[in-house]
Symmetry: C3
Subunit: 205 residues, 3 copies
């Protein structure tokens, strides 16, 4: 990976982590948690997915032990949410965009980690989906809600489709970095369209 794309990657990781932390903080403040509770919920929302990914493939210590700057970004995100929540609310669309970019990028990060452990495409997509989604699931469990991704939004579906798209592209001999970019774009696009059009998955029973 050249210097330029390394910078891009790190900018998106930081933005994704930051925006997951903000989304966790807001959910925690809605349930009237104290300042520490807000920071912890922000933390698990931001690192939950990557932690599960690292644990199930046995890549320990997990990433936030190895790279402490994640913790720093999360604490900053939680602090800003608590002190400026009135202003942040006005940026709802910006936050949604960050959250969605994070979703796309974290999914691809999970897939890359799976590939570097020589896993097959199916397991890689599973890992990518967990990396993108699990943080939000733990956030909702901690706050005593049924995880929202199970009920209202096309979220994990976007990860799965994006992951499948990535492997389709690489099977067609498209260069890995371009395939990543296109897959992230697809995930972001699906989620934006789904929220705009209020698309939902079918329900049974």
């Amino acid at each position: 990976m050249d210097f330029y794309s390394l910078i891009i990657e790190n900018i998106i990781i930081v933005c994704g982590t930051f925006s997951y932390a903000v989304s966790g903080s807001f959910a925690a403040m809605q349930k009237r948690l104290d300042a520490f509770g807000v920071i912890i919920v922000a933390f698990v929302t931001a690192v939950g997915g990557g932690t599960l990914r690292d644990l199930v493939i046995g890549d320990t210590p997990v990433f936030w032990i190895k790279e402490p700057y994640y913790t720093f970004v999360i604490i900053v995100g939680a602090m800003l949410s608590m002190f400026f929540w009135k202003k942040v609310k006005r940026f709802k669309k910006t936050l949604f965009l960050f959250d969605t970019l994070g979703l796309g990028f974290f999914t691809i990060l999970g897939i890359q980690k799976g590939l570097s452990h020589n896993l097959d495409a199916g397991s890689c997509i599973l890992l990518g989906t967990f990396t993108g989604c699990f943080g939000g699931i733990v956030r909702d469990i901690l706050l005593n809600n049924i995880p929202i991704i199970f009920r209202k939004e096309i979220y994990a579906t976007a990860c799965i489709l994006g992951g499948g798209f990535y492997f389709t592209l690489t099977a067609l001999n498209i260069e890995s970095s371009i395939a990543e970019l296109l897959a992230i774009s697809l995930i972001v696009l699906i989620r934006i369209v789904a929220v705009r059009k209020q698309l939902m998955l079918p329900r049974f029973y």
Copy 2:
């Protein structure tokens, strides 16, 4: 292990996984989750116990990363539950039987894994019990219920008694494969009798 018992073992694993997936799917449909939510709940119900077992003994990547056919069985189970739930309901007894066979077999699988890591009998029984029960606990947590095994049924108790029985038999120099069969039978028997007679553990407070 000879070829014949290998086939038997795999049939029971598939049946157990399938039936845990179906039990997860039905619980998820009752809470009106969307199609993706149903698949995820089916997944964690079926692999939760084995995942915790693999994580605590450090046997990573966990089994469903190494053996992708589990994921396939689970998706099939969830799909069938969603499309044929009216018919499946009529098979309630068949499902209960599968679930109970799965419980017995997964408990013994956990014990075997503990033995292959040279753990003592107590830790092996603990591992076996987790392997059999933890999936159902996570299912109930995800769906915002207090885990049912804590309240209504003799479930983990059957695993513990079955595990103790297994080690008693091997201590008496009974061959391992026969001891396994007898222990599975005991677990199945205890659970069937407990549900039939509505046996419960004592409660305090």
Copy 3:
């Protein structure tokens, strides 16, 4: 570590584990769980923090697989809680003291484990805080409550301040064992003062 301090350490570990088990048992009995449910909740309350610590740093098998006497102490604690809950209630202050000593000691145990894995101070404090607090979080999730530490008490904050104090002292070249003792004392002190004075962290929203 000399023989004398080894004995002290083990006494405090046993007391901490025992008291976490009792706190889990009482919470479970309040929700009318059966005897097995009480034991399981006691177990996760007592080992939850150390398990997460061992998993994220990759130190598997986790401690309660390697040292089965933990399980024994927990079962004794749960049994005593169930049979003597009327009497134990009278010892509420004793229990609070054990719980608080356990919090202090488990925090330092987590920090020590982090140091033995060559982690930086920030990650060590994070590990110590998880070791002390995570068991109570899982207890509350299993019982379908929003974790109490997020809402009512200064708990994790005591761990973080105690951990920071420990690293400040060692940076000042104070001997490790004395720094540990002082850090544990600070954690215990903060928690006692916070509960006495009903101190709380600020809340937003």
